[in-house]
Symmetry: C2
């Protein structure tokens, strides 16, 4: 078994390859990459400079080059393709499925795109690309490929297989043949298994399955992902507003959507602002991380200014200062938990969800339960360790209020962000955490001020 996973990505091989590049040992380069899966070559070339990669590309066939380009990460690819002429890129794009070609063109400035499309000889491909570029990147239209096998319901199985034969060259993976009526409207599908087992003379109309899930070109990519995941689909047909079959989305593209969204959410939560990886340069990592740190620091400075108003209280009762971290940490934790639950339910909408009022009431009750338990524990602890009743009352009342307030903020913020089309996961990120810190301090010192002046 000559499995592709026998391609050993080892440090030794990398060094040997580097040497071959320096010595223009083209035979070694071509031999060692021959038959290797493009995903592996792509991951391997990631270790070399753009110029070195370009050198390797020139040695490979256009087909292989196109496959490798498909696999490259977007940010790397956008830079890398600047080394090619429009004519060279057009040659790669002609080898790709229309969705992958569109993805590549998205990475380029608009003027370069048009130049590339002009250089494409296959007119159908060029018009497909122009059509796909019209859609937003994050809807079904922007994810779909034009390549698919469709059959008229009046055809017989032999005609169907003939059509597959005709299209086979252009389509890498066939899962189903989509069935359309004379108006080109999608009416069903025939799985390949059924096609293999059917009698050659059967008509498509007799064997097709009319229960199928389709999406519209305007369907949001996350909804496409939810639908494909829910119904365990490996491909979903895309129709336009009038029900006409216009494209097909395959599961590999949707998996990319799922992982990219999880990644984006993580970035919003941790405040690492762009695609940084551990092997990026010190400066690049620092630059990506600084914005959140600066927001947090600015919040801390505002908090310091604010606490300046309570200098007297702190001098009289220095123990008040001891509980600042308890208050801010609890507020932060409650806020992140609340927003996380809301973000989750926004990602998996449920038609039977309670009304907004009921949801807010429930959040309120959860906050009351948590708040009372935490406040009682803190009250007991302060009495036990510090024997100071006013302090215990201040800290526990403030903690209870902070839990309530942070729950409310953590629930409402992602809902408001979502309403305005902003990713709600941002609510678990820097701005809100910092705001929660400040609100917590305000509540704490206001309570202290009130109680100690009673």
């Amino acid at each position: 078994m000559e499995a592709v996973n026998t391609f050993e990505l080892s440090v030794e091989f990398k060094e040997r390859f580097q040497l071959a590049l320096e010595e223009d040992d083209n035979a070694f380069i071509m031999d060692s990459l021959d038959g290797v899966n493009s995903a592996d070559i792509s991951a391997f070339l990631d270790e070399f400079s753009s110029e070195e990669c370009k050198y390797v590309f020139d040695l490979l066939s256009v087909e292989t080059g196109a496959e490798i380009l498909e696999e490259l990460e977007e940010d790397v690819r956008g830079e890398f393709i600047k080394q090619f002429t429009a004519q060279e890129i057009a040659a790669f794009v002609e080898q790709m499925d229309s969705d992958d070609g569109t993805d590549l063109l998205y990475d380029m400035p608009v003027s370069d795109r048009n130049e590339v499309i002009r250089q494409i000889h296959d007119e159908e491909k060029a018009s497909n690309l122009m059509e796909l570029l019209e859609y937003d990147e994050d809807v079904a239209g922007g994810l779909m490929a034009k390549e698919l096998i469709k059959a008229n319901h009046n055809w017989n199985i032999l005609q169907c297989i003939e059509e597959i034969r005709k299209q086979a060259e252009n389509i890498e993976k066939i899962y189903s043949v989509y069935v359309v009526n004379d108006k080109e409207e999608l009416i069903g599908k025939v799985g390949l298994k059924k096609l293999i087992l059917a009698n050659d003379r059967s008509k498509v109309a007799d064997i097709y399955d009319d229960e199928l899930v389709s999406v519209e070109t305007s369907t949001d990519e996350e909804e496409v992902a939810n639908i494909m995941q829910k119904y365990d689909l490996e491909a979903v047909p895309v129709v336009n507003a009038r029900g006409k079959l216009v494209g097909r989305i395959t599961i590999d593209d949707v998996i990319d959507v799922i992982t990219e969204n999880a990644e984006e959410e993580r970035q919003l939560m941790t405040g690492v602002s762009s695609d940084v990886e551990e092997d990026d340069s010190v400066w690049r990592i620092s630059k990506a991380r600084l914005p959140w740190l600066i927001i947090g620091m600015a919040g801390g400075l505002v908090g310091a200014q604010f606490m300046g108003f309570f200098r007297e209280e702190i001098i009289i009762v220095p123990a008040l200062a001891f509980f600042i971290p308890l208050i801010t940490a609890s507020g932060g934790n409650v806020g992140i938990q609340s927003s996380s639950i809301v973000v989750q339910s926004l990602a998996n909408p449920n038609v039977f969800a309670d009304s907004m009022l009921k949801r807010l009431l429930k959040v309120f009750f959860v906050a009351v339960v948590n708040g009372i338990i935490l406040a009682l524990m803190v009250f007991g602890s302060v009495i036990l360790f510090m024997s100071d009743q006013s302090l215990a009352a201040t800290v526990s009342i403030a903690l209870f209020s902070v839990v309530l307030l942070a729950s409310f903020m953590g629930t409402v913020t992602p809902l408001v962000l979502n309403r305005f089309g902003v990713n709600p996961a941002l609510a678990s990120g820097p701005f809100i955490t910092t705001t929660n810190d400040l609100l917590g301090l305000a509540v704490y010192f206001s309570v202290a001020h009130l109680l100690y002046n009673l």
Copy 2:
């Protein structure tokens, strides 16, 4: 087009259905669910009590019941199947692919499992299930199904199609026919497209593709997901340690792995300790959230005790208290960012990654760059707004030290957790955040103590 997505999950329909349940209107129940996709029925039944669901199940065919059971969420299902006898469950399991059947059995106590397996009439199915139950749930062996189409390389295409015909009933989705030699070792595959287009008299040996990716039974589920995603596979064959073909993993199961892992990571980060959703009860949500809140609170109490040692400093320089939130927030942010980058690189291992020493050095330099920038900004701000040089020096030196320390902790903790087989994402969660808070306070007040006693 009778698309499954025309099944309207509306509040009105739910009320009508509820009424039908109360009035034992079996005709309405059966009619309204007829032809509806099992994933939709499953989501819909989630809204009703276990007893009501059981009533509906008894009206549906065993096939439909089995499909719905496959779609139910694990925690709901574990409870729900308690209502069925071992014999009833066995009937459902017989309708399922072996991987789904195994998943269902995993949800049951071991003694009940064995009882169910004894009730299964199909001996091959029973032995397949017993084999699959031997594997851990989180390796390829625990994910795979025994159902697949395999062909000996000496067969011709007609024999291959005959085999598909024989197996077709049991296998929902065929992507490829796997090719084995006389020792049952996996040597390649034939895609369905190729099979359709091939001449009936061709031999499998002439047309099969010997470049294929396979995984071993012991491969970790995350690695399986990475491999399938990297090579855009919709199914991957599983071999045992001696290269014998033993099963197949399909992409739908792997998508579940990907989303579950993202979910688990989110839960570890936000400290919501079990599968809670917005529509769970107030008490259930509170209970899930309390553990982290209590950890955070306990950390806050320890911090308060600790700051008690610095009561004198705070009375003399109350402004020291003002910067506590700045110090703890910055430490927390730096720690989460650092651990997030490490968690990411652990999930996507790179053979060309730098050595551990080099990685730690890089983390150190990034921390130095960030620390210096933040410290300078804070120093300037304190001078500007408070005109207090010792305070400015104290806060900025402490901040710089905290950034360094939190970077180190955030980097090392996930690595250590991972080494001991614990999910490294825990490092972005409650324990570490709380520990970072305490370390930050310790550094801050130690610096203050040193500087003010100089």
